[in-house]
Symmetry: C2
Subunit: 242 residues, 2 copies
């Protein structure tokens, strides 16, 4: 029952009508299991389908002229990272898995038909892409922060977003992201990433070992990262809890 995931997601935004729920249940979804570091879609493609992350962590990225990979966003279960392909033909960025992932593909035809009949679902999808844009905006700002602060901000965002989908408890979460991947997300060298993480540990803000991030001082981390969760536009107050 792969559509159950979408139903849960949309159901958390507004109360689905019986008709809407039926339409979602009847969506043909093709499920695929991918290993770590696999491209899901690649820049330049003209996708004929969208996808959502059902399990695992993925990321959007671009490759610059100098060959560097710039990670633009991380994707947690429930995210639909390439919804934009519904309206923009050529993809201007790539999306790949970080950890092994379970991905659900849905053909554009089916989504267009769904949107035509169900305006509230259209709005929900549109809203989803608007939140992506808000995250991109915040990342532009984060690029100006110095590395220590930028890393703190990124960790705050990841914790809040994972918490919003039930994958983090109050203070810790599994985080199978390498320092090299953090580097590509923050645009700093792996050496510096390593040193900044050590500083955050030394400051008593976080513990990060065995692929688990523990936030030891939420107040301190948000303050170090100049983090205000408004831009994530969460419905419940997940961003403000500690």
């Amino acid at each position: 029952m792969p559509a159950s995931f979408l139903i849960r997601k949309l159901g958390s935004i507004f109360a689905l009508s019986g008709e809407e729920e039926t339409a979602l249940k009847n969506l043909p979804i093709q499920v695929a299991e991918l290993g770590a570091r696999q491209d899901i879609v690649h820049a330049g493609e003209r996708p004929s389908r969208c996808f959502f992350v059902q399990d695992g962590i993925a990321c959007s990225y671009k490759i610059t002229g100098t060959g560097d990979r710039e990670i633009l966003n991380f994707h947690v279960p429930g995210d639909m990272p390439d919804l934009q392909s519904l309206h923009l033909d050529v993809l201007d960025f790539s999306i790949c898995t970080i950890t092994p992932c379970v991905i659900g593909f849905i053909q554009h035809d089916a989504l267009h038909a769904l949107c035509e009949r169900h305006p509230r679902i259209t709005s929900a999808f549109w809203r989803e892409t608007l939140i992506d844009a808000a995250v991109f905006r915040e990342w532009i700002v984060n690029a100006r922060r110095e590395a220590y602060s930028a890393m703190a901000h990124l960790l705050c965002e990841l914790v809040v977003r994972l918490r919003a989908v039930g994958l983090a408890d109050a203070s810790s979460c599994e985080l199978r992201i390498t320092q090299s991947e953090f580097s590509d997300a923050l645009g700093i060298s792996t050496v510096h990433t390593n040193r900044v993480l050590q500083e955050l540990r030394a400051a008593g803000l976080i513990a990060l070992k065995e692929r688990t991030l523990s936030v030891l001082d939420w107040e301190g981390l948000t303050s170090a990262g100049d983090f205000d969760p408004t831009y994530l536009h969460l419905r419940n107050g997940s961003g403000t809890t500690r």
Copy 2:
């Protein structure tokens, strides 16, 4: 006839039906003239209307915890920078004028009603927000480029976007943007902005004086800026002409 602007904009994307054109003509639009450096909307607000830029240059920005202004995007005539407020209640960034501007405001109610009846207009607006997101993504990448390259990239984007709305000819355009504003957009100091612009002039790529930018070597500028206009998702080939 302020709506004519919107009609021209949407008409360039797809052929408007008579019904669609009538609906647009009947949109109540409130026109305002603003001076330079005036806030149009401010972060934290809950707008009840959207707006489009009819004349002038505006920009979106955020203020960081250290008080720095980070410009997120420039807006040229035809842009609707806060369409997102149709679906996200709280604004997470601010928008202000750079030059004196003519702005057209449209109430959310009217836009929601328009979208409900005209799915193609909904799609066009949605598409607009998706292109904004694509620009944000590219700016994240641009933040990683070194200043000389980032400035070249920004100038390329501005010329292509101004050309797309007929405000730049093949090689030059009016550009009333100060070095301090470039600095806030690129996240570099005004001193460095000045030096980078001098380098671009010395390299024979641009001339920038008396508020007019002339691109002397388009090939060279795009190459210096690692600029590929795909992310602007222009319909015609404006991005590729020289």
